[in-house]
């Protein structure tokens, strides 16, 4: 502990010869100390324990000291020496200063009788004890680092009813060994100096510290109480932290049991919201016996089952989280007119994450969210800004009108209709189950094209701007939707045969060349054995349409003239059409097997595993995408499901290369007709002006001279 001022009358440290007998008597000392702790008479159960612990707190950390303290005391007690007298003195001293905590230890209570017997012996055999002690008491070394021990014993002696006896103990009166002379006096010292010293020590300890109202004394009391209550293992090594904890507790008392802690407020709010999930809709309390009459089909799928299968694969959120998601989706199904829905996955963000649900509205229930996206031409590809140079020849110089800019923004590719292509499903997101779901807008091809060029982390806030180059046309909600569309198109797979094309015999070679874009479930699907699913990628097929480079699933010729464009001069169109013939973009048709997927730099795009190699007959087949890390699919028997949990980015073995800024636009070429001249500098202008003035002055003089000669006035 801290440095306490040297105390004039130091109580003795244990004689070294007692230490030698430690080993043999170690056990006994503990036992001895324990019974005395249970002394019920004066209720000082703390004393021996504290006594045991106290010496050990010295920085040396050696147990020998504490043993040595115990040993001789026990030894003395055993032989009814003065040590036994010290015990009761300690015991009596304690209740005055310490708040004893009762220790319910039966063994100690039983041994209380031993204590009383010792005390009786004490009272009877004092004088004999003293003499015995005198003869054998060598000079014990003083341990200046053991102040606590010193003060304790002093305090004990202060309140001791057997005061005189203690003071007679030469061991207590030991003077500092620096003087080097033994103090064997058997006289009874005067009570006053010792008492005075003890009182001084206590007063010092009780002085309050500058920063708070507590004193060291009280702090030590609290600390000891805490230790004795908690009984940590190896208290010496955790002393520092215990000290700090106790100190911390002064300043943060647990006062208000009525008011909630402000810190925990958001946690409680969240818990309230999640609790709301658990209440049945319209049912009210859980005690109601009436079940819902319609335990019919709910559009919400069996998420728990899916979660179970994915857990076999080592993927997915924990089961209680999955259940909460299930309840949240149920809530969504109640709020929105939903035909089918599915838990699509989770996209991690920097501040918050998104839980995504893929839903399909009932027929005709679609809300008209028609924003004029076509007006947004921000996705302008500056790379193709060669249009400015076109049409120069058409400039007419006859009338000096401001030439019309000939540059037309590149045609905006229209977004796909709802329920088709990339916008086949609607997506709702929320940050945590219990929070309200937000609908994501439909994705436009421009957004997909741009999303392919940038790589940004999601922050978790839907209205956050996406700062990137090339500038992304939209905010985070749009970026999120675009990434969801890309991931869905690339990684939604199912076992071969689960889906089949509908029976309509459509022309495969349609003008658009898009092929079929609808499928239906195959009622005759028998399921593919798991081992086969794992072996060959040809057993899995994509069931979402591939997104073309254009940003759509079905190709649209951007040059198809809209009515507005036809108003422009036809000549310009002809000039444009020549170099800009756009090829039709073709992608792999629906239900293409995974074996056809392109490799990523010699890397297979998919990895298949059996979920458990130890029991292949019950495992599920798991397919993991290497292109979009976090996309998983499982299949077992007739069931399959896809999920995505990840950051929402594509994997590329090469580092991300951001799009370079556009090339510097060319300046107007200098030709014989138009020559760029540099502006005159200020000096040149001034020189010119000066020269002009001089010339003017010269001509004026001449003129004046002439005038004077002619005597006529001239105009300036």
């Amino acid at each position: 502990m801290g440095d306490l001022p040297p105390y004039p009358d130091r109580p003795p440290q244990q004689p070294p010869d007692r230490r030698t007998s430690q080993a043999s008597q170690r056990q006994y000392s503990r036992d001895q100390v324990q019974p005395l702790a249970a002394d019920p008479e004066e209720g000082q159960q703390i004393a021996p324990d504290a006594q045991r612990n106290a010496p050990g707190w010295s920085q040396r950390g050696s147990l020998s000291q504490q043993e040595s303290l115990l040993m001789p005391r026990a030894f003395q007690a055993e032989e009814a020496r003065i040590g036994s007298m010290e015990y009761p003195s300690m015991n009596t001293g304690f209740p005055l200063e310490f708040q004893p905590q009762p220790y319910s230890d039966e063994s100690r209570i039983q041994a209380a009788e031993v204590t009383t017997s010792l005390m009786q012996r004490l009272q009877q055999g004092q004088s004999s004890l003293f003499q015995q002690l005198d003869s054998t008491f060598p000079e014990p070394p003083v341990n200046p680092l053991d102040p606590f021990n010193l003060y304790q014993t002093d305090q004990f002696s202060e309140g001791a009813q057997h005061g005189p006896y203690i003071r007679d103990d030469p061991a207590l009166q030991f003077s500092p060994s620096e003087l080097g002379f033994p103090h064997y006096s058997a006289e009874v010292p005067e009570p006053e100096p010792l008492e005075l010293a003890v009182q001084n020590a206590k007063a010092y300890l009780l002085q309050t510290s500058i920063s708070c109202d507590l004193s060291l004394y009280e702090h030590l009391v609290n600390l000891l109480t805490k230790i004795l209550n908690q009984r940590p293992e190896d208290p010496l090594s955790v002393l520092e932290s215990l000290n700090r904890t106790t100190q911390w507790e002064w300043f943060h008392p647990k006062l208000d049991t009525l008011r909630d802690e402000p810190e925990m407020q958001p946690t409680y709010e969240m818990a309230e919201k999640q609790k709301a999930l658990f209440t049945r809709s319209g049912g009210g309390a859980e005690g109601e016996q009436e079940m819902e009459e319609e335990v019919g089909e709910t559009p919400v799928p069996n998420i728990m089952e899916t979660a179970f299968y994915f857990e076999q694969a080592g993927v997915g959120l924990s089961s209680d989280e999955s259940f909460r998601i299930f309840l949240a989706m149920k809530q969504l199904a109640e709020q929105q007119p939903i035909h089918t829905c599915r838990f699509w996955g989770k996209i991690l963000g920097m501040n918050r994450s998104y839980l995504v649900a893929e839903v399909e509205f009932r027929e005709g229930e679609e809300e008209a969210e028609e924003e004029e996206v076509e007006e947004m031409t921000e996705g302008g590809e500056v790379m193709e800004a060669h249009g400015e140079e076109e049409g120069e020849e058409d400039e007419e110089k006859t009338v000096d009108i401001i030439p019309k800019p000939v540059w037309k923004p590149p045609p905006v590719i229209p977004k796909e209709e709802s329920r088709s292509g990339a916008n086949k499903y609607l997506y709702f997101v929320c940050n945590e189950p219990g929070l309200p779901w937000t609908r994501l807008p439909h994705v436009t091809p421009a957004q997909i094209v741009n999303a392919r060029k940038i790589k940004k982390f999601f922050t978790g806030y839907l209205d956050a701007p996406v700062v990137s180059y090339p500038p992304f046309p939209g905010n985070e909600a749009n970026y999120l939707r675009a990434q969801i569309a890309r991931i869905s198109a690339a990684t939604q797979v199912s076992p071969l045969g689960f889906y089949q094309f509908s029976e309509e015999e459509g022309d495969e070679e349609e003008e658009g060349g898009a092929g079929r874009d609808s499928y239906e479930e195959n009622p005759d699907f028998e399921g593919i054995p798991v081992l086969e699913l794992v072996d060959s990628m040809a057993n899995w097929v994509h069931h979402t349409q591939h997104i073309l480079p254009q940003g759509r699933c079905t190709w649209v010729n951007p040059l198809q003239k809209t009515e507005e464009e036809e108003d422009l001069g036809e000549e310009e169109e002809k000039a444009d059409e020549g170099p800009e013939e756009v090829e039709q973009e073709v992608g792999p048709p629906l239900l293409t097997p995974l074996s056809e997927d392109a490799e990523i730099m010699h890397l297979a795009p998919w990895t298949t595993r059996l979920s458990c190699s130890l029991c292949p007959q019950y495992s599920v087949a798991v397919v993991r995408s290497n292109l979009w890390p976090g996309a998983y699919a499982y299949a077992s028997g007739k069931k399959f499901e896809n999920i995505y949990i990840g950051w929402g980015h594509k994997y590329s073995p090469e580092n991300f290369n951001p799009a370079l800024p556009a090339p510097i636009q060319q300046e107007y070429p200098s030709g014989p007709e138009i020559m760029e001249m540099s502006d005159p500098t200020v000096e040149e202008e001034q020189a010119l002006k000066a020269a002009q003035e001089q010339a003017l002055g010269a001509t004026e003089e001449e003129e004046e001279g002439e005038e004077e000669e002619e005597g006529e006035e001239t105009d300036d």
């Binding site: 955790v238 904890t245 946690t267 999640q274 982390f457």
Partner: protein, 276 residues
Amino acid sequence: MDADSLLLSLELASGSGQGLSPDRRASLLTSLMLVKRDYRYDRVLFWGRILGLVADYYIAQGLSEDQLAQRKTLYSLNCTEWSLLPPATEEMVAQSSVVKGRFMGDPSYEYEHTELQKVNEGDKVFEEEIVVQIKEETRLVSVIDQIDKAVAIIPRGALFKTPFGPTHVNRTFEGLSLSEAKKLSSYFHFREPVELKNKTLLEKADLDPSLDFMDSLEHDIPKGSWSIQMERGNALVVLRSLLWPGLTFYHAPRTKHYGYIYVGTGEKNMDLPFML
């Protein structure tokens, strides 16, 4: 994460989506116990899983009494048999830094890397193409070492240092409070401090030498490479590293549960500055 509280830890870290299947969990529980006995470790941590193309590596680490001493790393392909990996040397790290791409999953697989080396033959100096073979095991060791040095973290107060030298687990660690848990400065790198001596004296005066003896996350470069989130309705704080995607650290505030796990491909996210 501590092997003693494996199940709870896996549940708390499940927010990132990757975990372990039940059979792996079961085999880990038993095999890690045996590892602890055989190698006489004080604590065994389940470090995580590195996803390979053919197979996954499961990594565990063993700690001795001194928590900051060099940790021993073991790997397994099936969670039952563990093999000790050699400690990482700088040479290994340098050698395997040229290898890019995914892990194969086969420890004896060798990556081939052609290097141009200058060969002196008498007076002539010409460059020869040498094909260097790098074993996947070497790459594994260096990647684990890099991840440990860069993103293995523990909360403040979980370890404490005594003047006698060794760093101990703080048995009275009661967890960070909610407000502390949201700050980056309450988390330290679980390695020997590198930046600590660069602090000014004024800053050092505020530190508690028994608790603040490691680098905190505040000054990590690039700034913003850690994402702090609250999950489970504000009852769990999760830190995810954006530099090594796949590393998840979780801590339940006001409790002593904390730990980290890495489940990922073992590749550094070099595009991080573009993505922030």
